[in-house]
Amino acid sequence: MGNINEIYDVMIIGAGVVGVAIARELSRYSNRLGVIEKEPDVSLGASCRNSGVIHSGINYKPGTRRAILGVRGNAMMDELCFELNVPLKRIGKLTVALTEEDLPGLFRLYEQGRANGVPGMEMMNNSAMRRIQPGVDGIFGLWTPSSGIISPYGLTIALAENAHANGVDFYLECQVESLTRRDDGVFEVGARDLRHNAMRKFETRVIINSAGIHSDEISRMAGIDDGVIWACRGEYYVLDRRLDGTLKTLVYPVPGRNDPGLGIHLTPTVDGNILIGPSAVYIPDEDREDYRATAPVMESLKREGLRLLPDLAASDFIRNFAGNRPKQTSPEVGGNADFTIEDTAIPGFIRLQGIESPGLTSSPAIALEVRDLVSRHIELRSRTDFNAANPGFTGFFSDLPLEARRELIGSDPEYGEIICRCERITKREIRNAIENPLGARTLMSVKYRARATMGRCQGGFCLPRIVRMLRDEYGYEPEDFMAKGRGAYMFAGHVRSRGEAV
């Protein structure tokens, strides 16, 4: 941890994919950088609660930031994912007109895509579509081969760990409570250390507000009142990997003009599951992080899933989750506003608001845009020792070919020990996750890094094993186990204290 008296050049508030993409981009320079995040890990907000789709850019009005940065970010993904060893699958997408009434909308998307510079688009009749996705319905479809899928938290974690390796300080479980710009132009950031319930102070020349669903609250702390965020919840179901391979591509309906989202659809994940969702329901402002699942939406998602995949069994629905879009349009207006990425009236306070879809896709392009904004305020000093790659083997062991696995087991026997049997995650991978460089200590941190507990038994088998490992090898006491933030403790203590008679 850096010297507290030293002034940061840039502090980024919020460690979602956009915040850490900016951190990683700025870590190409030798300036002093910090990321501050109220959750106990990166990627715990919208970045772990979305479809994981890299969008082509057909859905956004030409000339908007969503269109420009979406298409640009999409084009940057291959190199980024290669550098960080994050699996990216360009499986393409079919946007399907089910009836003639959908056709004008479909043509509009095609025109929009052309104006936005989306590569490789093709209009298809049903038989051409069925060559890509057997059995798909619809009279016409728009094929966009640059659409793809990615693990959104996988990308966020990889970006953060790379930024950290290049010298960015991460302050997890640190919630910003006050922002003051002194007369010398330096910001004082007052933050509560949630783990130790203590106040901390940081100083920085530039602040980047990428606080997602809370970005308007952060702006208000700095004295900027315009720009309200509404939370719009999207619920999902996760389906068993049994169905892996059913979907060759993404299939979306043509969205209505004022829909807040892109409609309920099936999305294969890079891990081999299928997601059903997301819904789009504005939620009251009392708690923007209320990720509850609601009975009517769950019902409709199940119905939709069964309509699209008739051989679904009840046991295929292994989990549900929800994410909240940070929207700048009110429920009455609907639709989407463009991203806000701008300098503000307060010099050095840069704000990003309303980065909903395609935020994940746009994140590397947003980072470049923000870099240019930052360079108006401070000098970015170049460095020669930036390392773009994450060290070591970072994929999933069980996805490797047999011989490669044998070789790795030879060099580290713990690759032979399977802890999570559903997802086939080895002890070594779980150890790597536990020993993550950011120091994130929750069980969610292990889950999102190693994929353990994400399978069909949802941790019934491996959770006790991971617990045993953390206790025996890392000295955790029962009360040290946290599932995630917000006081989500796992256990209430020992059954018996040591030495107590049974």
Binding site: V238, R242, D287, E289, D290, Y291, R292, A293, T294, A295, M298, K302, A313, A314, S315, F317, I318, R319, N320, F321, S398, L402, R405, R406, I409, G410, P413, E414, G416, E417, I418, R421, R424, R456, C457, Q458, G459, G460, F461, L463, P464, V467, R468, R471, P478, M482, A483, K484, G485, R486, G487, A488, Y489, M490, F491, A492, G493, H494, V495, R496
Partner: protein, 423 residues
Amino acid sequence: MRSISRRSVAVIGGGPAGLDAAIAAYEAGALDVVLIERDIRLGGILNQCIHDGFGLHRFKEALSGPEYASRCIDRLTDLGVSVMLETIVLDLSPDRRMLLSRRGALFEMECDSVVLAMGCRERARGALSIPGHRPSGVYTAGAAQNLVNMENIMPGRNIVILGSGDIGLIMARRMTLEGAHVEAVFEIMPYSSGLPRNIQQCLVDYEIPLYLSTTVVGITGMGRLEGVTVASVDENRIPVRGTERFVPCDTLLLSVGLIPENELARSAGVLLDPVTGGPKVDDRCMTSVPGIFSCGNALHVHDLVDWVSEEASRAGAASAKYASGEPGASGRAISVVPGSGIRYVLPDRIGEHASVCGDVSLAFRVASPSRGSVVGIYSGGVRIKEESHSRLHPAEMVWIRLGCDDIARAYETPDEPLEVRIV
């Protein structure tokens, strides 16, 4: 080139089913039997079942889970059956070639026959579709049992249990004994899915209320669980509006069903029964893939370990015979089907060899509770056997034994399935 080890019989899973299957295979003359277990010790789920009541039928004693297991383990050790611990089977092919993994090694094995005895897993929250938040403090009952009994960890202090499966009932008592407060057990069905003796000994004796036709319709808590909303359900298991009430608690234990573990069976192309979740098997416990057998909770979820052991012994002996080259699936078989009032029946078919070489036990579960019922077995219009039962309950497995004569009579009309039904 790596050498591939060869075995006559490999038994996958070292719980009660695997133990007795391996013992029986060895005793039936299989030369090199190997028992493969992924945990650090044999015994499977019995190790965490420290309550008693195991072995009442088999040993005429009430043993604890570990005691029951140790009897099997001692026998296995005396016989000298080889065991691979901390070893997991990753893949099984239809020609019985396996890929295994353990610390420091990834290796293959070929076998003349394989017994699948991987047990079952618990249904998790996702399969229930309970609306609400996703706080910590929601555990399956078996995972909680493991934490309490094996790891000395208390999952929570104020407990609500959803589902009255046996593990849930056992955990209601267990948590109470360890000083937790168990608020209630809620069961969506109009009857418990647990054994009557467990209702008495685990709930009634501790004054823990059991609410039937009631379920959890909401989960509250952004960090840790703060409470659940429960509601009565109608005869279609739909929550009744206006009956919701909030029950504060920090822990929700789920005991809502078990699912036979059959990923390996799937990878080997074994046909599964959608009702049991386990393979379709003949009277020797052989699956649709010759040489691959299944028993215990991987085949269908049992109520008592005694029956698991009995079934596993049959599967183990049959696997040894198959490995020694005795004729397999060829020849005729009569199919066995569940009729009215019967949820499922096993085996799925009876081979003709059974009409000359011995008894066959049909295991079945009824669809709903009844008293004074008669269970009949019919072949076409012909009654093969009838038994009256003073009490039938979905929680309890029922066995009917068919003698050689019964089977021979059924074979008079070999194209007619044997139907088990409540008369």
